[in-house]
Amino acid sequence: MPGISDEFGKYNAKGIKGGEAVARQLDRLVTYIRSPVDSPRGLAARLRYLTTSVQRQEAARAAGLTVADATTARWLAEKQKPSKANLARIEHAYRTIRRDSVAQALRKRLEADGGTRIEIHPADNSRVPQARQRSAGVRSINVRNWGPIVDAWARGDQTGLNSAWIDLIQDLGSSWGMYEYVTNVGFAA
């Protein structure tokens, strides 16, 4: 059985990298501000979050929100609206800091009681020509050590997530290569 796919999707298989799916599910487990960043309410809430302390402001700057303090103040006072590019930066900085601040608690929850069971749904083969279809079922695996995954997710590090995913699926046995790309990965915390 092969390992890592060279040309995933060549025969029309559909799926995303396992690491991406894990990040998606981790994001679902975190409570973010629900109003979108382009709504006045959502924007104000994010700006308040990013400016609560000097440490936060520095973290925001490190996360790419490199505007003058006076500009942030004008946004907060609603005297000026952020440009589209800056809205994206605000959202990115907010998500990064929020992830970082919940990461340790989330990891603790995921590692409590001997780990968390994850359900892995392999890539969608249904549009692949019959002769080239490989059958792979839904698999479950218990993950005890969430450190590499949660850390990579908190850093926003896609490569790190993907390599952590490959390490993790080796436990599935010889057919692990079929789970490099998935349609969904599910778990609760």
């Binding site: 749904h121 969608d124 839904v138 349609t183 969904n184 599910g186 609760a188």
Partner: protein, 298 residues
């Protein structure tokens, strides 16, 4: 065995509360969601199909955002007709409507897309259909529910099956299916869980045990309402099941209205999940009682 889990939980909380019924009921309410999930797992031990908790969901079943309605029409009935003068109306109530609806065709795995006007009884899911016209609005409600906008609509499996059933009785034309997201299905997936809850419910009614009765009610109603993308239950994401169970509850109510009508009663009002108002001798059609198959007077 599984009923034991329910009684054990009640005993545990009663003991902890030291006989304070209200405090025990409160605690039971709080642990209902994880308890329901544990019950589900316990009832699936040694069963034929594994439960798939996190399948990839098609766009149509993903919640479009906070405070926006879901895209699946569940065909909740809301229908009243003017009462004929000088006829007494009886308001009837279906017992445990959502619990009874656990017996429904549920898709097992990942939903797969198909187009075209075909209906496969061995599969279940959601369908985009154009419902047929309804000419009997003056005596019986439309099986598609109280819908204002005409044209195609996404419905869950039970609604489609209900319309087909009504069609087979010659009351309307066939619905047109445009698109479907379906998977192989079974009607028995939640059967053991349903029987466990139903037995616990019956025992509680017989023994006049309000704490257990309330607990059982919370178990199944919260289970249904948190089956989808709920933040109160992240152990399962099955929006398809949630819509199917709800739609089945509404379809069951519709079928009871139909049964009353065919048994010679006049149907006056069909609303919500459990409300049925009729004229005439309803006791010839239904048995009075508190079991799932019986009806009680409101």
């Amino acid at each position: 065995m599984t009923e034991q889990m329910i009684t054990d939980a009640v005993h545990e909380e009663l003991e902890r509360a030291g006989g304070d019924l209200e405090a025990a009921a409160d605690r039971l309410l709080k642990r209902a969601v994880p308890d329901a999930m544990a019950l589900l797992e316990a009832t699936r031990k040694g069963a034929r199909y594994d439960i798939v908790y996190y399948p990839d969901m098609p766009e149509i079943l993903v919640s479009p955002g906070p405070k926006k309605p879901d895209q699946i029409w569940e065909a909740r009935p809301r229908w009243t007709r003017p009462t004929p003068a000088a006829e007494p109306v009886t308001a009837l109530d279906v017992n445990g409507a959502y619990l009874a609806a656990f017996k429904t065709h549920l898709p097992l795995g990942r939903l797969q897309h198909s187009t075209g006007d075909q209906f496969d009884r061995k599969r279940a899911g959601v369908h985009l259909i154009t419902p047929p016209d309804w000419e009997w609005g003056h005596i019986l409600p439309n099986p598609i529910g109280d819908r204002d906008t005409p044209g195609p609509v996404w419905v869950a499996e039970p609604t489609l099956r209900l319309i087909i059933r009504v069609m087979e009785q010659g009351l309307c034309k066939a619905p047109v299916i445009h698109e479907s997201w379906t998977s192989g299905s079974t009607e028995g997936l939640l059967e053991k869980m349903r029987v466990a809850l139903r037995t616990a419910r019956q025992t509680a009614i017989l023994e006049d045990d309000t704490v257990t009765l309330e607990y059982v009610k919370t178990l199944y109603s919260k289970f249904v309402s948190t089956l989808g993308e709920s933040n109160f239950n992240r152990a399962i994401y099955r929006q398809d099941w949630m819509h199917c169970i709800r739609a089945q509850a509404f379809a069951n109510l519709y079928l009871r209205a139909m049964k009353a009508f065919q048994g010679g009663c006049g149907v006056i009002r069909v609303t919500g999940t459990d409300e049925l108002h009729v004229t005439g001798d309803w006791q010839r059609v239904f048995t009075e009682g508190r079991d799932l198959t019986e009806m009680k007077v409101k």
